[in-house]
Amino acid sequence: MSHAPLRRLGVPFLAAVMIAATLAACSGPAQEPSSDAATYTRPDPTRSPSPSASATEVEKPERPAAMEKKDAEGAAAAAEYFVELYPYVMRTGDVAEWLSMAHRTCESCSDMITQAVEIKSAKAHAAGGQTSLNVLDEYPRDASTGIYPMDVVIAQGAFQITDGKGNPVLDSDPSNVQRRMEMGRVDGSWVVVEIAPIPDGD
């Protein structure tokens, strides 16, 4: 098995599928990076994972009580919780919470779930990627869908993935990305309807 390419992604959060594909086919040719990839470099065999990539167990974030609210505060709490699950889900492959919170329209959610599943199935290891969310703007509830849209900034720490043999697959720097999140409710629980770039002009 050859070494999988080391990818340095400017936007590891949401840039999930291609990493999963790399893990799934790590003996094959490298997949070209998507437009989200800031830089793309060959693996550096002399480089070892940074201390933040240690195998420290990641605790599952606590579900905030504010998620019980049906209003904008509840929507923001649910969005924050979903995002903060990132390192836990990637580390453990426990996607149950994400599956319950990802609406079928949320392609970004599907991509991240796929990535977590692929990491686990490939016996790879994810580390770092502590993620936090701050709401930049909240928009009025959409009367016809009940959706609460909001613009958020997602801050993520350095994030690493290594394959089953310890070879680096991804080593990303800390990043901040702005996204439009749309939160709705299904059967009384919050779901993520979409996470996408903020449209131009908004």
Partner: protein, 281 residues
């Protein structure tokens, strides 16, 4: 990404010709819709059979039907199972606008409840050429601000045998509106200026708005003393741009505006010999 403006209720009166042009003859072209989408779920008051809100129209994309399972989605009535399954938005060309599907439902005059919605028109791609006729009609109704008219000398008088300077500006004016449900920006651009100097001389037409002294390019020389009211007729050409798309499309036809300056007196300035020295300073 899911569009957030999911349901657009047509809150304006339909223009019959617009309606026929876009959606074909539905037989409801004269109906005036005045209730909001939210109201149609909350307003259960009975209405008379002649009430113009007996038919409610609204739009949303077919792709939005994938949100039908949201607790508060008001889409269930217009997202039948088959619509939901094929709930896929169109892949319009770069210069086209995706116009959401149009639905209508009858309101029971006795109960105020809406009946089963019907799909009047599926989502479709709208090219600028589809909006040309509507754009022309809207352009003719635009409240274009008449061009300013400046005269120099500026104090209500001028002299024969010297240039009386006139000028305006050529700034375009823009208006945000909708054509057949499509958000657009209409732009009126001065194309020609016709100057009437009110002295029985032929009107002068320029594409140049002129300028103020000493950079003036449009002027008139009166040959007789008297009074005059200078008039300016501006001919405007139109363009429209579908919101979010880069291209500007010409609007057929033109519009005109008229401006009149204040009355000026044309003096005959003659040389005169005087006995005393002219005052200085």
């Amino acid at each position: 990404m899911i569009s957030l403006l999911v349901v657009t209720v047509l809150s304006q009166s339909f223009d019959t010709s617009d309606w026929d042009n876009l959606a074909g003859n539905t037989g409801n072209a004269s109906v005036t819709v005045s209730v909001s989408h939210e109201n149609r779920h909350q307003d259960g008051r009975a209405r008379g059979a002649s009430d113009p809100s007996d038919v409610v129209y609204w739009r949303h994309s077919q792709g939005m039907c994938r949100l039908v399972d949201l607790d508060d989605a008001g889409l269930a009535t217009s997202c039948a199972d088959d619509t939901e399954l094929r709930g896929r938005d169109l892949d319009c060309a770069a210069d086209e606008y995706e116009l959401d599907a149009l639905y209508a439902a009858d309101r029971d005059p006795a109960t105020g409840e809406l009946g089963r919605p019907r799909l009047l028109e599926p989502s479709r791609c709208i090219a600028p050429s589809d909006l040309a006729a509507a754009a022309a009609r809207e352009f003719a109704r635009l409240p274009i601000q008449p061009s300013p008219l400046h005269v120099q000398p500026p104090d209500g008088w001028s002299l024969i045998n010297i240039e009386t300077i006139t000028y305006t500006d050529d700034q375009p004016q823009t208006f945000d509106t909708e054509l057949l449900g499509v958000p657009v920006t209409l732009r009126a651009t001065p194309a020609e200026f016709t100057w009437d100097y009110d002295d029985h001389s032929p009107a002068v037409t320029t594409t140049d708005p002129g300028g103020e002294y000493p950079d003036h390019t449009v002027s008139h020389t009166y040959t007789r003393p008297g009074t005059a009211t200078i008039g300016l007729t501006t001919t405007w050409s139109g363009q429209f741009q579908i919101t979010g798309l880069p291209a500007w499309t010409p609007v057929p036809g033109e519009a005109t505006t008229a401006t009149t300056a204040d009355l000026i007196t044309i003096h005959d300035a003659r040389s005169r010999l005087v006995e005393d020295s002219l005052p200085t300073g």
